[in-house]
């Protein structure tokens, strides 16, 4: 399988099953429309006939020779290897999202956590539950060395003393178990004062700072409890924190139907001094006024393309910043096995509620049918874990025919369930946006490489 597209006048061809990426000229681009594997040594008559008015036959034959050479080298029209997903062995659990507070000091309109409590009442995680979660992770992670714990909410800074206690406890057991804990935290910034900044800088390998972009865009949906906008209160905190920050961070925004011109929000965040930026489509019931629906897809695709062009111009001018969804590693990226199953929710990754319940990920929390057990009792629903373990790009609907499957890994299982009530059925709108993001990401890599040469 191949996928070809043009962006800013560059002709790009992806060989899906080998992972190869090529830049071609127009004649190759046109020729590929008439070729189906297995290829023969000589150009098919059908291709010659179709293109003879546009190109001289000698040029067509020469160009076909290059296509055939790549085909023989396993770089074009490569057959599917059918990589195997092992589901006969129980995968270790190595990553955890700790819902440290089911409470929040903002009231964002689009919050998938029902403004912080996930529909289950406002609650903070006691240290005993956090300790049990760390013990559970140490036990279930088997031989995995790198363990990830994300402090999430609601708003985790509302229960920061417990965050510190949990970090201290996990660190105290690291050596004994031969593990390396990586802590991360996601915050809205309201309570981000200097002592917390210093602590986070010291202990957290990554920090996600929630801000949507322009003041009017942010304040339309991200309200304080008194219904005032949150921008003026939060931005100075984030700016100060990022100046102090030595490790990774992302300023992460959500775009909705209200700001389909989100490229302006990305650029606004860059103008505030942030250089690690992620702005992502809202996850919402289609009936909500801010929800992104199928009719918005062409507009959003156009906006992604515009953003890619702007990013490339800024890179050339020495004013580059990272946009999370356009980052792609073509050389040392994830192995094929990782690419089959994506995030690992419900299998390698779980979310823990303030009262110790286990869910496949933070987005399933509150949906009782997905409660997998409890860290307090050690009980774990292995059947449900197995269901998540089996979900991969070969058995999800539409993925086997999709060129982007080894880049996106089958999409978000929580989104799939939210929209189709089935983790094996990808959400069409999300797929269309992901394909566009992958194209833009590869386009930027191609431009970098062409400039280097």
């Amino acid at each position: 399988m191949i996928h070809k597209y043009t962006q800013n006048g560059i002709y790009i061809v992806l060989d899906i099953h080998s992972g190869a990426v090529h830049v071609v000229d127009k004649i190759i681009y046109d020729l590929l429309d008439y070729l189906t594997p297995p290829l023969s040594e000589t150009i098919p008559q059908q291709a010659l006939t179709a293109l003879e008015e546009e190109y001289p036959s000698d040029l067509l034959k020469e160009s076909y020779g290059e296509i055939y050479a790549l085909y023989q080298d396993g770089l074009l029209f490569t057959p599917d290897e059918h990589f195997t997903v092992r589901t006969d062995i129980d995968s270790p659990i190595k990553a955890m999202c700790l819902h440290i507070a089911h409470d929040c000091n903002l009231r964002c309109d689009y919050c998938f956590a029902s403004t912080g409590d996930f529909g289950g009442g406002r609650m903070k995680m006691p240290f005993e539950v956090g300790k049990a979660a760390i013990d559970f992770l140490l036990e279930k992670s088997a031989n995995r060395r790198n363990l990830e714990v994300d402090f999430f909410g609601g708003e985790p800074l509302m229960n920061f003393e417990v965050v510190k206690q949990i970090v201290e406890y996990a660190r105290s057991r690291e050596k004994e178990f031969g593990k390396n804990f990586r802590f991360t935290i996601t915050t809205n910034g309201v309570l981000l004062d200097e002592p917390k900044m210093e602590y986070i800088n010291r202990e957290m390998s990554n920090v996600v700072l929630s801000l949507d972009g322009r003041k009017e865009v942010n304040d339309r949906v991200r309200h304080r409890v008194d219904r005032m906008g949150s921008y003026d209160q939060i931005v100075p905190h984030f700016q100060k924190f990022v100046q102090m920050r030595e490790g990774d961070y992302y300023v992460r925004g959500t775009f909705t139907k209200y700001n389909l011109d989100f490229c302006e929000d990305v650029l606004h965040l860059a103008s505030l001094g942030f250089d690690q930026i992620s702005v992502e489509p809202v996850v919402a019931d289609p009936g909500e006024p801010y929800a992104i629906t199928e009719e918005d897809v062409p507009r959003i695709q156009e906006e992604y393309e515009k953003l890619a062009t702007v990013l490339w111009e800024r890179k050339k001018a020495g004013k580059a910043f990272n946009f999370f969804h356009f980052m792609i590693d073509l050389e040392q990226g994830p192995c094929a096995i990782k690419r089959l199953r994506g995030c690992g929710a419900g299998n390698e990754y779980v979310a823990i509620t303030p009262d110790g319940d286990i869910y496949p990920c933070h987005q399933f929390v509150g949906d009782a049918q997905f409660c997998m057990g409890s860290v307090l009792t050690g009980e774990l629903n292995k059947e449900l874990k197995h269901t998540f373990a089996t979900a991969n790009v070969y058995n999800k609907k539409d993925c086997p025919e999709c060129w982007a499957r080894f880049y996106c890994s089958g999409g978000c299982n929580a989104n799939n369930h939210k929209y189709a009530k089935d983790i094996f059925t990808p959400h069409k709108v999300s797929c269309e946006l992901e394909r566009k993001r992958v194209e833009c990401a590869i386009f930027l890599k191609v431009m970098e490489r062409l400039q280097e040469e």
Partner: protein
């Protein structure tokens, strides 16, 4: 070649041979939390180059 420039070669098959160690980051933990972005994750298999 005059018509084709290969930007990145065939990496997928080779990556599967010693792949699946599970040490790399869980993609949703990195920034997104509402979508799936895998291809930008870094491989953290310390053994793959040693064997």
């Amino acid at each position: 070649m005059t018509h084709i420039k290969t930007i990145s070669g065939a990496k997928l098959k080779a990556s599967a041979i010693k792949g699946g160690c599970g040490e790399c980051q869980t993609s949703c933990q990195s920034a997104c939390k509402t979508s799936c972005t895998v291809a930008n994750q870094k491989c953290e298999n310390l053994k793959k180059d040693k064997e």
